[in-house]
């Protein structure tokens, strides 16, 4: 169906970047990244069910430099999506719309996700006895 070119509402490129809008778009971007990550999760489950040998192969991929980089990125995405999601749940109840708290809570999600990502990896390396 041919449609007339109607004006669209302004999108990302017209806004000045701020913590609140960054938190909003990054929540979506991390969600999409995590969705791709679930393919890896399914692969990992299948590998475990397949058997000892194939599982070791997949664990080898995961433990490689690229594998660790991807998993580190996914950990960050997970923590950011978690914090951003909880922030959005608060906003769904009508709270935190005041600009000040909205911005500071957005900034907090990033602080949380960076610390939680580093903490998770630190703990994992501790468990492995590497650190």
């Amino acid at each position: 169906m041919a449609q007339a070119k109607r004006p669209l509402s302004p999108h990302l490129q017209v806004y000045r970047w701020g913590w609140h809008m960054a938190a909003s778009i990054i929540n979506r971007a991390t969600g999409v990244a995590l969705a791709v990550g679930t393919i890896l999760l399914a692969w990992w489950f299948v590998a475990m069910a397949t058997g000892h040998e194939y599982f070791a192969t997949v664990q080898g991929y995961a433990g490689s430099m690229i594998g660790r980089l991807v998993l580190f990125g996914l950990t960050f995405c997970l923590m950011q999506h978690l914090a951003g999601g909880i922030r959005h749940l608060f906003m769904d109840t009508g709270r935190m719309y005041d600009l000040k708290i909205n911005t500071s809570s957005a900034r907090f999600t990033f602080i949380f996700s960076v610390l939680a990502t580093l903490g998770t990896w630190f703990a994992a390396y501790k468990v492995m006895g590497v650190l």
Partner: protein
């Protein structure tokens, strides 16, 4: 107000009036359920970091772990399906492409869920 359109013609194609909030609510409910589930998964993955196949299998075989992981995967793929749907609705405007994309993500989410859950069950019930 001098609109000659019938009421039905005005609302046709705008979507159902019956369950507009269902998607929104489901997304929130699955988000809430995801919080404890993901914390369990992260703690488990960290706790088992570097372990071999036998140890991972022994961990997953525990009934509570198997059930929690199945719930995690099911809730995850549902949440993911709902989220990806909104992304497609926002960015894909061509009707045909939108329709195809919706089917594709639905199939992908179900497939990812089925592969994961089947694997978990196979490990849980396996010898």
């Amino acid at each position: 107000m001098t609109d000659m359109k019938t009421p039905i013609a005005k609302v046709r194609g705008l979507g159902s009036a019956k369950d507009g909030t269902h998607h929104w609510l489901s997304q929130r409910v699955t988000a809430i359920a995801n919080i404890p589930l993901i914390l369990f998964v992260v703690v488990s993955f960290v706790g088992n970091a570097g372990k071999g196949h036998a140890e991972w299998v022994a961990w997953l075989k525990q009934p509570v772990v198997s059930v929690l992981m199945i719930l995690f995967v099911a809730n995850l793929v549902y949440h993911m399906r709902l989220g990806l749907q909104v992304v497609i609705e926002d960015y894909v405007h061509d009707h045909g492409t939108k329709f195809a994309s919706m089917i594709l993500i639905t199939f992908a989410c179900v497939l990812i869920g089925a592969l994961s859950i089947f694997s978990i069950l196979r490990i849980a019930f396996g010898g």
